[in-house]
C-alpha cells in the first residue's frame, strides 16, 4: 500500500482505520419487507440497528450473534452488504421497467440491489463467468426472491447482443485492495503483475459494456481496489477511444475525486469526475466508481 502514500489525502487515518474492524451493514430487501419492520424484528433479537444517514433502508447492525445467522437473513429479508458497495447501484440509478445488465454479478449483492431499485419490474440480466460463483449468485437471487432477474453464465468480454440495455453495471473483478480491513493480508497491497493482468481484463469488460448499452445509456464501472491502473487507467482507456463520456456524480458520502495522474501516468483532468472512497471517509471499505455515458 506504501505506493499510495502520495495519493491518499490522509495517509495516517487511512492506515489506522485499516486495522479496525468493519462495522456490519445490512440492506433491507424492500421487495420482501419494510425497513421499519425488519428493524423491529432484529431489535427484538438483541441487535442494535442504526440507519445509514444517506440510505434509510440500510443499517449498521451490531449484535452478539453474527448478523448473517438469523431467521430474517435466511428468509431473504436483508443482505449483508458493506457500505461502500452500496454506492455503484446508487450511481447506476436503475428504474422500474428498464433493461439492466449486471455484467459481473456474483455473488449478487448489487444485482439484488438493482432489482430493488427496479421494484422487481423490467429485465435484470445477472451474468457471471464463473460456474462456481454462479451458484452463490443463484442462491442469493432465490433467497431474496428476485423475479425480474435472468441469470446467465458468459465471459463478460463476449456477452452476446448489442445496444439493448438501458444501463449496465461493470463491478469488475479486481485486486481487492479496498477490502483490506476484512482481509488483513491485503494490507501489503496487490502484486503489480496481478494489477496489470486485471487491468487488461477490466478494459475489455468496460469496452464490451459500452457496446451492450443503448446509445446514451449509462454504464457504471466500479472496483473495490485502490490501484489507479485498475481504475482511472481503465476509464481513460475507453474515453480516449471515444467509446464513452464521463458523467459527474456526487455521492451522498465523503469521498475523494479520481486521480489526474499517478507516478508517470497522466489520466487528465476529466478523471476528476470519477469517485474514490477511502476507508476512513465513512468507516467503510475502499473503492472506486465512474459513471459513463455511451455517445449517441
Amino acid at each position: 500500500m506504501e505506493r499510495y502514500r502520495e495519493i491518499i489525502p490522509d495517509w495516517e487515518s487511512f492506515w489506522e482505520v485499516l486495522h479496525q474492524p468493519l462495522p456490519p451493514v445490512i440492506r433491507t430487501n424492500t421487495l420482501r419487507i419494510e425497513p421499519w419492520i425488519l428493524r423491529r424484528r432484529l431489535e427484538a433479537k438483541g441487535f442494535a440497528l442504526v440507519p445509514l444517514s444517506w440510505d434509510e433502508t440500510c443499517f449498521v447492525a451490531k449484535g452478539e450473534i453474527p448478523i448473517g445467522n438469523t431467521l430474517e437473513h435466511w428468509l431473504g429479508y436483508y443482505y449483508v452488504q458493506e457500505a461502500t458497495q452500496l454506492l455503484p447501484v446508487k450511481a447506476l440509478a436503475p428504474g422500474p421497467g428498464e433493461w439492466v445488465l449486471d455484467l459481473c454479478a456474483a455473488p449478487g449483492g448489487k444485482a439484488t440491489q438493482i432489482a430493488q431499485y427496479m421494484a422487481d419490474q423490467g429485465l435484470l440480466v445477472a451474468n457471471d463467468s464463473s460456474p462456481k460463483r454462479i451458484q452463490a449468485l443463484l442462491a442469493n437471487i432465490y433467497r431474496l426472491g428476485v423475479k425480474c432477474a435472468v441469470v446467465t453464465e458468459c465471459p463478460g468480454e463476449s456477452f452476446p447482443g448489442a445496444g439493448s440495455f438501458d444501463r449496465v453495471l461493470v463491478d469488475a473483478p479486481c485486486s481487492s485492495e479496498g477490502v483490506a480491513r476484512k482481509f488483513p493480508h491485503l494490507r501489503k497491497g496487490a502484486r503489480l503483475g496481478t494489477i496489470k493482468r486485471l487491468s487488461g481484463i477490466q478494459k475489455r469488460l468496460l469496452a464490451r459494456a459500452l457496446e451492450l448499452v443503448k446509445p446514451e445509456g449509462i454504464v457504471v464501472y466500479s472496483t473495490c481496489t485502490l490501484a489507479p491502473e485498475e481504475n482511472e487507467a481503465v476509464v481513460k482507456h475507453v474515453i480516449e477511444r471515444g467509446l464513452a463520456e464521463l458523467v459527474p456524480w456526487e455521492p451522498p458520502v465523503p469521498h475523494a475525486r479520481g486521480l489526474v495522474r499517478f507516478g508517470t501516468d497522466e489520466y487528465g483532468p476529466e478523471l476528476k469526475k470519477t469517485v474514490r472512497i477511502y476507508p476512513y471517509h465513512f468507516d467503510s471499505e475502499g473503492g472506486f466508481l465512474a459513471v459513463l455515458r455511451r455517445p449517441a
Binding site: 450473534i65 445467522n69 435466511w74 428468509l75 473483478p173
Partner: protein, 329 residues
C-alpha cells in the same frame, strides 16, 4: 393464473391445491421447471441458468413445488399450510420425520410463525421436510444461534432467574444461569455435529458438546450442594480441558470451506465469546469459592473459542487462496 400455453399439465391444479389465486408474475417453462418471473421477455441469444424464481419442478410422478417458490408466494399460499413449533422445525431440519395426523397427503407448505419456510411432504401420518439440505443446515445454524443468543433482554432474564427479587443476583441465580449457558452450548454443538459433513469437524463439535455437558454436570452438582447446605465448597477439582489438541493436520484438510461447517464454526465462536464474557463478569462479583470456578470456566471457554477461531482462520485462508474468491460485495 398460468399465462403460458407451453406450461406442463398440472400447474394450475397445483396452485389451486395451495389456494393460490393470484400470481405476482408470469409463469414460464424452462430447464424442466416452471419459473415465476416478472421479466417481460428474455432475449433469445442468452443462455440462462434461471428466469426469476423456480416455482416447481417437473418430476416423473408430477409437479413438485420448490421451497423458494413457496417462500416467495408467502401469504398467497392459503391452504396446505403446516404451522410448526421451533422444536418440531428443528426435528424436521435434522432430517427426522414427524408423526402428524389430519394433514392433507402430498406436498405442503412448512410455516413458522405464519411465514412460509419451504416445502414439506406428508405420506401417511409422517411429515418430512423437502427443504434442500444446504438450506436446512443454514436454518439450523440460524435457529441455534438465535436460540442461544443473549439479547440484552435475555441476558437480564438469565441473570435474574431466581425468585428473590429482580435486582439481587444470588449464587443460586448465577449457577442456574451458568447451567443454562452450558446446556445451550451442548445442544448447539450436538446439532452442529449431526449436520457437519466433514468427519474431523464432526468430532470437534462432538468433543465440544461433551465438554459443555461435563461443565453442566459439574455446575449442577454445585447447585445441588448449595440448595442442600446453603453454601458451595471451593471448586477444587475442575475437569481437564482437552480441546486444544484436536486441531490436527488431518482435520484441517477435511474442513469443508464455505459449507455448513463455516457457518457453524462462526456461530460457535459467537457462543463461546458470550460464555467467556458471562463467566468473566460473574467472577468479578462472586464470592471467592465461586470466583475461582468462574475464572476457570472463562479460561476453558476461551480455549474453545481459540480452537474455533483457528478453524475459522483455516477456512478463511482456503476460501481466499484456493477458491478464486473476489470479495466484490
Amino acid at each position: 393464473m398460468p399465462s403460458s400455453a407451453d406450461l406442463p399439465e398440472g400447474v394450475e391444479r397445483l396452485l389451486e391445491e395451495f389456494g393460490v389465486e393470484e400470481l405476482p408474475g408470469r409463469l414460464v417453462f424452462r430447464h424442466g421447471a416452471v419459473w415465476l418471473t416478472t421479466a417481460p421477455e428474455i432475449p433469445e441469444e442468452l443462455r440462462t441458468h434461471a428466469v426469476g424464481v423456480r416455482l416447481c419442478r417437473v418430476q416423473a410422478h408430477g409437479l413438485k413445488p420448490t421451497s423458494f417458490g413457496l417462500m416467495i408466494l408467502g401469504e398467497r399460499v392459503r391452504t396446505r399450510r403446516v404451522e410448526l413449533s421451533r422444536e418440531d422445525l428443528r426435528e424436521l431440519l435434522l432430517g427426522r420425520p414427524l408423526r402428524r395426523t389430519g394433514l392433507p397427503q402430498g406436498y405442503v407448505a412448512l410455516c413458522l410463525g405464519g411465514e412460509v419456510l419451504g416445502c414439506g411432504e406428508v405420506r401417511g401420518e409422517m411429515l418430512r421436510s423437502q427443504i434442500p439440505r444446504a438450506r436446512r443446515q443454514e436454518l439450523l445454524v440460524a435457529l441455534a444461534a438465535e436460540g442461544y443468543g443473549f439479547s440484552p433482554e435475555l441476558s437480564k432474564r438469565t441473570g435474574t432467574m431466581g425468585t428473590k427479587g429482580a435486582d439481587v443476583e444470588t449464587q443460586e441465580d448465577v449457577l442456574k444461569g451458568a447451567i443454562l449457558l452450558e446446556e445451550r452450548g451442548r445442544t448447539f454443538y450436538e446439532h452442529a455435529a449431526l449436520s457437519a459433513q466433514s468427519r474431523g469437524v464432526q468430532e470437534i463439535f462432538s468433543l465440544l458438546a461433551r465438554e459443555e455437558e461435563r461443565h453442566k454436570a459439574y455446575l449442577a452438582k454445585l447447585l445441588g450442594e448449595l440448595l442442600r447446605t446453603g453454601k458451595v465448597a471451593a471448586a477444587s477439582r475442575l475437569p481437564v480441558d482437552v480441546s486444544a489438541a484436536v486441531l490436527t493436520e488431518a482435520v484441517r484438510r477435511e474442513i469443508e470451506a464455505a459449507g455448513f461447517e463455516a457457518a457453524a464454526i462462526y456461530a460457535g465462536m459467537a457462543l463461546e465469546e458470550r460464555a467467556v464474557a458471562f463467566y468473566a463478569e460473574k467472577a468479578k462479583n462472586a464470592p471467592p469459592e465461586l470466583a475461582q470456578l468462574f475464572t476457570a470456566l472463562a479460561k476453558w471457554e476461551q480455549s474453545h473459542l481459540d480452537l474455533l477461531a483457528a478453524l475459522d482462520e483455516e477456512l478463511r485462508q482456503r476460501v481466499w487462496h484456493e477458491q478464486n474468491f473476489w470479495p466484490l460485495d
